[in-house]
Symmetry: C2
Subunit: 274 residues, 2 copies
């Protein structure tokens, strides 16, 4: 059980109706310690991205990650190069923001096999890693649920994430584990252990999978509201040596529609119960 909010981080997308400055003030006032900042939130801030980062830190929050880079595969080489160039820009933005990590939603391309897409993802990540290392920004592959394998992520498991990290072998490349995406995987414990042994478990995202969600994207549940045994997965994550933030990332039409102060309180209460 979470005995305090010391490891609690919230993603800006979780409270989407709030602008970055409101979110920062509200999170800090609520005792949340970390913030993961989505690109749209950073870019909509009234000021530079550097100023956005400073504002968040001035509120007393740690910036945990910048979300998101990736989307490397494409049918045409020119489009794959565009993705590499765009990811370098995203790395520069993370530097300005002061975010130590970029979460990668790696992409997938209808019309080519997932094997081919994973090769292109490997090549794309390898191409941007020198830029990331020079910037001091790490990259975390987030395996997505197989229901997003059509066009969002050819990487659907921790095993595939570990394989890409192993193939590239770079200390700035690791994995962002989101319980929503991988809870169903019978290799989760084993592959989390491997990620820990290789010092590549960079982030831990939490929310819940509701019993029969109404929507493939925006009906995620609060921790404890669904079928995921978060304490079990957390025990594997902790056993792997992870000591970082636990990041609440919830896409939910239902929760976005409610009063966001009340919602943030629900998040805190749910967090303290898992």
């Amino acid at each position: 059980m979470s005995v305090s909010l010391d490891n609690l981080c919230v993603h800006t997308i979780t409270t989407k109706p709030w602008g970055l400055d409101t979110a920062a003030q509200k999170y800090a006032a609520a005792g949340v310690k970390g913030m993961s900042i989505w690109r749209d939130a950073a870019q909509s801030f009234d000021g530079s991205i550097k100023a956005a980062g400073q504002m968040v830190r001035d509120e007393g929050l740690d910036i945990v990650s910048y979300v998101r880079g990736g989307f490397f595969p494409a049918l045409e080489a020119a489009d794959r190069q565009k993705a590499i160039d765009e990811n370098k820009i995203i790395i520069d933005e993370a530097t300005d923001l002061g975010a130590p990590l970029i979460v990668l939603v790696v992409g997938a391309t209808p019309g080519q096999s997932l094997f081919e897409s994973r090769q292109q993802i490997t090549d794309g990540i390898a191409a941007v890693l020198p830029h990331a290392e020079a910037a001091g920004v790490k990259l975390g592959i987030e395996p997505l649920h197989p229901m997003y394998a059509d066009s969002r992520s050819a990487v659907t498991t921790m095993a595939q994430s570990n394989a890409i990290c192993e193939a590239i072998g770079h200390p700035y490349l690791g994995i962002a584990l989101d319980v929503f995406h991988v809870w169903w995987d019978d290799q989760l414990e084993e592959q989390t252990k491997i990620a820990g042994e290789k010092n590549r478990l960079f982030a831990f995202h939490i929310c819940d999978w509701k019993d029969q969600p109404e929507d493939m994207l925006n009906d995620r549940g609060l921790m404890g509201e669904g079928v995921i045994d978060i304490p079990q997965i957390r025990s594997w994550v902790n056993a792997s040596g992870f000591t970082g933030y636990e990041e609440v990332e919830i896409f939910s039409n239902k929760y976005w529609a409610m009063d966001q102060d009340e919602y943030l309180n629900l998040i805190k209460q749910a967090y303290l119960k898992i």
Copy 2:
């Protein structure tokens, strides 16, 4: 490419607006050779299930499978026993219908781990297999997509299906492979080969996974409309020794809303192109 309709089977659910008798007449007139009959279609027939089977055969169609049994896991032992009893009734219905195979959607129970549910599924299947063998009806585990792991199926991969078949080791137990559910799995080729070597690949279901479906249940695509490389998967299925029907099983609010004669023609055209 399909050079004829000789291996084409259609599930009654695919043309849900049609009653069983209309479906049988229309399929036969269209040159479809096989029909897989859903329980609701059989039960809504104006006559006994035995008469329903005879009617379908009289139209010249082979009855390929009865859909569906399963849903074995439950928190309470009494409920698991109820599921076993219900599956025996389903086996008796399949006998009356003259269906050689029952497709199993094996179930999952929120509140217990998928590992525990898979053990209960194994126990439940083992408990009904003697009844199935006596009836001459085979059982095919259908691994479902991980997006249904909350409450529909703790079995999400061919590997898990093979493991349950291996643990039980009964010639009447095998696997129903549906491309919609397993297309994303990086072990699909290898596990299909294993199923073939063990003579346990009992059924092959086809449809397509659309790029970003609108609905988790009822937005399946026609073959060729989505991202699944059906010819590739078919080549693995055929290489495993499978020579049975190719069963079109599509849940689609969009297609159910259109003229079903036109839709059946689309199914035929789509089938002849893959």
